[in-house]
Symmetry: C2
Subunit: 101 residues, 2 copies
């Protein structure tokens, strides 16, 4: 979900995605390459991302990923799941405090 969200605003290549996630999360998520690249491959296999090779301004090869239609839909679904999940966690964490009122 994090990777899909990072690609929501604009397509990007792996290295940039990692930096974007680190930046947006205020450093909370500093995902190593060994985590992100396999995720990108899995997401592409699942048709949630599409990719093509590009050359950077200085000539380095890059694989640029973009959300597919399925990817956008999946992200929307994951967002909903996240809200339900985090609400449930909040409920579980909050309840004991109610008893101590």
């Amino acid at each position: 979900m994090i990777v899909l969200a990072a690609l929501e605003a604009a397509p990007a290549h792996g290295y940039a995605i990692i930096e974007e996630i680190r930046r947006r999360s205020g450093g909370a998520f500093d995902l190593p390459e060994g985590t992100v690249y396999p995720v990108l491959h899995r997401l592409e296999t699942s048709q949630l991302l599409s990719s093509h090779w590009e050359k950077s301004p200085i000539g380095r090869r890059r694989r640029v990923y973009a959300l597919t239609k399925h990817g956008s839909a999946s992200l929307a679904a994951r967002r909903t799941s996240w809200v339900q999940f985090s609400s449930a966690i909040e409920a579980l964490l909050a309840e004991p405090k109610l008893c101590r009122t």
Copy 2:
């Protein structure tokens, strides 16, 4: 963290913990026994829980778990981690929307 939180209010045995989690989460977390029992064993090995055998009113044996001091401290730490984690997720999920203002 969920299991620790379920035991915060009062000690309980495995089966009751599962039902309590299901109830508190409004059904969102319906954890199978194969998930919860190993967790309880791990938490006890890590000294976050203590246990003893009891007899239920009708004579069935039960293993009742309680938070230890370490367990309470760990739960507090996990709560803090959760807040940071979920804040970071929110930041990652929210940002693109800001751009479309």
